[in-house]
């Protein structure tokens, strides 16, 4: 019974993740692409739930949806109507990209199913035990990557502030009452 439930959940989550991802790539409207990201990211959070990585369900929703997607939407708003949905949205690489992606996918699928995945599949502990293990590993064995992440975030923060603060105002923008103002 539970195995069936798992399969049903996996198939529906696959649909929830893959179809929006295809829509993100294929839609011509930028804002729609941004909104299609949402079900895709929620689907990945669902896969984390299925994998019993409970902490990452929360992190996925908190960071990817709550922060990164919001930032992407702000960037869309800041670069207003630069690209008309009616215009061509892709470059001349379409065929080659499709061919190379298809070949890569076939190769990786071939390697995946040739490899004997004999079940080492462990049973992860409950949410608390897993998070304790993650926190312990983070400060003991993986202490250097942990601090490196801090340095990376610091560099990103400072660089982004420098770039954002040194931006010139837009040349001319249409105000909300239809007048052209100097920004």
């Amino acid at each position: 019974m539970t195995a069936h439930l798992g399969t049903i959940a996996f198939v529906s989550l696959t649909a929830l993740t893959i179809l929006p991802a295809i829509m993100v790539v294929s839609t011509r409207n930028l804002v729609h692409a941004g909104f299609w990201m949402l079900p895709c990211l929620i689907g990945v959070a669902g896969f984390y739930a299925l994998l019993e990585a409970h902490f990452f369900v929360v992190v996925q929703i908190l960071i990817y949806i709550g922060a990164i997607l919001v930032l992407i939407m702000f960037a869309l708003m800041l670069t207003r109507d630069v690209m008309d949905p009616k215009e061509r949205q892709t470059n001349a690489m379409g065929v080659w990209a499709g061919v190379i992606c298809g070949l890569g996918l076939l190769a990786s699928a071939h390697m995946l199913f040739r490899h004997p995945w004999v079940g080492v599949t462990s049973h992860p502990g409950d949410a608390h035990a897993q998070t304790v293990a993650l926190g312990k590993a983070l400060v003991t064995r993986y202490a250097l990557p942990f601090e490196a992440a801090s340095v990376l975030l610091l560099a990103a923060l400072i660089a982004a502030i420098v770039i954002a603060k040194s931006m010139r105002p837009p040349a001319a923008s249409v105000g909300c009452d239809g007048e052209v103002s100097g920004g």
Binding site: A9, L78, I161, C176
Partner: protein
């Protein structure tokens, strides 16, 4: 795992409720399409221009700071669950982690990125 099942059931029920309500109102209401009904509502006056406005840069700066400190919070959480079992070493490391990002925060403050306008 059953907690997720409950949440999934609630989500499905929510979608089903909205869909059935919309369907029911579609069946019951009279239909009188009119292009004026699709206009943006602006308290009476006719709307001018597009709704896709150029946003203030400051929204973006705040969102940017939020992303960085959101990730910091995500790192704090497993540490907070585990630090009792690791002890002083974990505390020192987290002070280093938060301290480094504290530099970034102080820099943002000095460059007046935290101020509106």
């Amino acid at each position: 795992m059953h907690a997720y099942l409950t949440a999934a059931m609630f989500t499905l029920m929510g979608f089903a409720f909205v869909a059935s309500t919309l369907l029911l109102s579609r069946l019951l209401r009279p239909s009188a399409p009119n292009p004026d009904k699709l206009e943006t509502y602006e308290c009476g006056p006719l709307p001018v221009g597009d709704a896709w406005q150029q946003f203030n840069m400051h929204y973006y700066l705040f969102a940017l700071l939020f992303v960085v400190f959101d990730v910091e919070a995500a790192f704090l959480y497993p540490w907070a669950v585990a630090y009792k079992q690791v002890g002083l070493y974990a505390v020192v490391e987290m002070i280093l982690f938060v301290g480094l990002l504290g530099f970034g925060w102080a820099y943002a403050w000095r460059r007046k990125a935290l101020e509106w306008d």
